[in-house]
Symmetry: C2
Amino acid sequence: METNVAKTDVLLTNALVLTMDEAMNQYHPGAVAVQGDHIVAVGPEDEIKARYRAAEEIDCHDRVLMPGLVNAHTHVPMTLLRGLADDLRLDVWLMGYMMPVEREFVSPEFVRLGTLLACAELIRTGVTSFADMYYFEEDVAKATAEAGLRAVCSQTVLKFPAPDADSYEDSLAAARDFIQRWKDHPLIVPSVAPHAPYTCTDEILRATAALAAEFDVPLHTHLAETALERENMRRETGMPVIPYVKKQNLFDAKVLAAHCVHIDEGEMHTLLHAGAGVAHNPSSNLKLASGIAPVPKMLEVGLNVGIGTDGPASNNDLDMFEEVRLAALLAKGHSGDPTAIPAPTALVMATRLGAHALHIGHLTGSIEPGKRADLILVDTTPLHNSPRFARDPNNAYAQIVYAAKSTDVTDVMVNGRWLMRDRRLLTLNEDDLLAQAREVAHRIDTFLIKREQSVLSKLIALGGSMEQESFEVQVKVRLDDPERVIAALQSPQITIIRHKHYRQYDNYFFFADPQQGRVRFREDNLIDERGEVAHVRTRLTLIGPAREDSFERDVLLSRSRFLAPATYTLRFYREYFKPTAEVVLHKDRLRWLIRYQDTEFYVNVDRVEQPDLGYFLEIKSRTWSRRDAEHKAELVSQLITLLGADKQETVTQDYIDLVPSTG
Amino acid sequence: METNVAKTDVLLTNALVLTMDEAMNQYHPGAVAVQGDHIVAVGPEDEIKARYRAAEEIDCHDRVLMPGLVNAHTHVPMTLLRGLADDLRLDVWLMGYMMPVEREFVSPEFVRLGTLLACAELIRTGVTSFADMYYFEEDVAKATAEAGLRAVCSQTVLKFPAPDADSYEDSLAAARDFIQRWKDHPLIVPSVAPHAPYTCTDEILRATAALAAEFDVPLHTHLAETALERENMRRETGMPVIPYVKKQNLFDAKVLAAHCVHIDEGEMHTLLHAGAGVAHNPSSNLKLASGIAPVPKMLEVGLNVGIGTDGPASNNDLDMFEEVRLAALLAKGHSGDPTAIPAPTALVMATRLGAHALHIGHLTGSIEPGKRADLILVDTTPLHNSPRFARDPNNAYAQIVYAAKSTDVTDVMVNGRWLMRDRRLLTLNEDDLLAQAREVAHRIDTFLIKREQSVLSKLIALGGSMEQESFEVQVKVRLDDPERVIAALQSPQITIIRHKHYRQYDNYFFFADPQQGRVRFREDNLIDERGEVAHVRTRLTLIGPAREDSFERDVLLSRSRFLAPATYTLRFYREYFKPTAEVVLHKDRLRWLIRYQDTEFYVNVDRVEQPDLGYFLEIKSRTWSRRDAEHKAELVSQLITLLGADKQETVTQDYIDLVPSTG
């Protein structure tokens, strides 16, 4: 009967085979025959052995043989940022740590190292395919191909300058170039990634969708990750996230949508009809408190929902075993239904459905003849996998989902090539990668430590426009009768150029080291004639630790100040700067810009209301030299007299220093 | 300077030491000196090395040295039931699988093997102390002490017969005996465990609290695990769970309360004032869909909240690394606050707070001089732990909580004794335990497979009272005019003994193999004179596959029937029996118990409403012999005539067989 026996390259026998195919076929003992890059047969061992002889025959006793896991959404180079900053709010984490560090460090070399390190971890934990989104994506692709893994590699495009592009046009051109050159690669599916609706313009969404459609490659994006995104979208466009991106023709492309935490059933149907896949990232969504995605409903609707780890900076690893377990547990706890996402479903999501979500379901995700040989072996002998019950076919899935660990993976094959045998990596030098990673971590540590040594550096690290205020002379006089001063401003010696009315709400941050100065977060409310708020502006000011100088009559040369528009919230700055103390000061300010003796001054009549410190006259003018400052100090002194204030009541401190608790 | 150098047994040097003490001291490089069973010193390496010389000095480079983890709530023998049944509702899981298998298999030998297997897993995953609750708890204690782990071992007491006791008095006596003999053990803290308020009587709660108070040992219990428990408690006693057990004097004892998912802030204060500890079990609470415990609030109130895995049958492992990570992630996702339970807090819960929750905080939970030497080493070199940042002291905790895996634990010491070195277990023979576990699993599989081969065995396995109905003769005749039959019942030849009116709602479960018969779930509503529901009863009936015999005039000898009160819900039985089809049948039944020719018959005038099959006369009588059956068949035939029904309209099928879809 030798005539009926075919030759093949590799025969895996004596395994518990979980095919994860549509019929959820299991074979025990089962066998798989591999020829070149693909699977030629799977079935009961005796049947397969009768049909095939192989050069390499591997006895998989005590092993589960299953398709490799599909990590449906990640940012692999961020492996180098794992554990850099945790337990922070999204904005503090992203804008205070991730983005400043990325601005400083992300380069083709960084991306290459991060990817190789990630690939080592992915292989060790049984992942054979993943969907990536980052900068310098061609370098991700090169490193991934070198490691031997399969990936959808998506070049990020967004409306801000990125580490790999000054403008979105540059990123888009890079994406086109990348896709053209890599679209026929056996392992890499090149792709484009408009980052998210709120970081892209309509033009970017349309252009990336057109590009992906032109080359028939997937489009990878973040959609409806947070409630804030959904609410902002609703406020700005009057529609939810999915209809909005549909309107921008996003679904002209084959979309892989990460997160989809905040979508409703209607949006699920839109995704379904568009053939879009979804990547569910339970660890990341919990860790960043984005919410819990309605996965059982998505599955009921019929969506291809894969499971992803997201980047290792928000997870903090690439362990799909943890992710699958969490997806299964979370759905139950969240829905109150302990039968939600049972183990077989969770494992299908992490394999076959995930591959479909990535639009590579025809290549991988299950063990079926004709599909690529992306296979893993999982050791069932470790303690935590014992005992094993065989009564119910679901027992095998439950063991993998609820009890097995990623460290049980012993062997990994991708595209017919072994990447790991007996826990030994065959395509990567782990020690070398770890040493390089240590070196990068040390440099990042040094950068951040230096930054965090000074409040000023932390302020600068936030980026954005920043001005150093010129010095100013200033004097402050306590008033009994503010009306008298206001009337005296009508003096013919004074020309009023402008008059404004503000209510100012200040929060001062104090630091253990007074030399660091103080940070003031000010909300300036401009009040109109009707007494209503006409405009609100927030500003962040770093106030130096000491006055520069003082002149006669207590006129001061003011402290150095660095200003920036406060584009984030008070809470952000509080959590970012971590002050040791915080003091609140509210005041009502009548401000005049006047000319006196050919010199411009700001005259403020302030009422400090919280804490109640009473009325003050404040006179200020910018200065640029010591001589000018001395001249202005003399004019200020004259003005105090002219306005009828009492020089004996001059105060040399800032308001904040008059607040009792801060001495 | 040799005079200042003390001798000690073990010196652990060159480690990143996380003491987890109140001040969260870290030393890097740090060292710990161990003498006998306890820690004598911890601090910077140079300082400790200057003070101590040791017989055994261990270089812990690239290792985190920290206190062993405390698993605050588990049922270790259930390791033998891991993966037996998953993704089921609590009642199906507990009453359909766990309890029947426990009834059949739990013995001192089972408990011993399960405990040893669990201890091997606990040691491997860095746990040095745990709180257990099970049956034959003294056998748990013996095996634990043999393995060398520290544990609070709690003998279960509950109002039902248990595998180790026919009555609660027996369990209570066993608990007293166990506590008396073990209370001074260096590793084991004996304890008593009233299972839960809903499985105990007030008397049990009071007696166990008194016992624990008498010997000053902890009392371990489940409190407020599910919303149902809270609602039932409120309905039955008018108060929430914690006040209720307080009223039963439970807090006379040092309580360890597992779960507390459904408690409010007032109850947290009650627990705090009682000095009670809480065990948070995030995996189990999610997996069984019990809910998400308000842990951030508990910590804010000041409770000692530990983290537990619960039993491996609802987790499905004893991996505290997974549990700590989940506790940290879940709090964030659930509260919407990404700063909730930051990594250091999560790790404190799993160590120092956990030890306090177990009332052994004076012994273990942190690295401090005087405490027992319960220590673990965690390897930081695996890929998933790289890179490592050192900028922020919190980086070290974040690495352990979010990235490290239990398989990174290399060495474990309890009470000054090594239980694992370089991942080699020193007190247990893993291969031997695994072989024994395989054998038990095989026996359980066989038991359940046999049970599941027949619907009858599944029914019997549920336990509870069960009766086999005696055979009956029966006939069914289609009626055009039911009123005529009702009027004819007034015939002088008939004596009416009783008359009732029912509405009957039946769900029939069908199985692939018709020989299995059918299961009928019936809700019987007794209707009073005013037409209102006076009483509701649910009954479960297994109806055999075929009639036994038939007589002339289509009088049938009815099918064999097994009846049981349906104490669970329709949904339970549906998920337990997993029928291949289900049919609903509703009818209105007027029932008379009559005497005719000295023989009692039931006469039913039924209107089958769903589906609408019209009116029927049914006449039935119990029988015990063929001869009696033949006699009654003759009488039934006479009755049909007497009641004016048309014999041509006799129907030989059950109502359910007249439903079109079921043929």
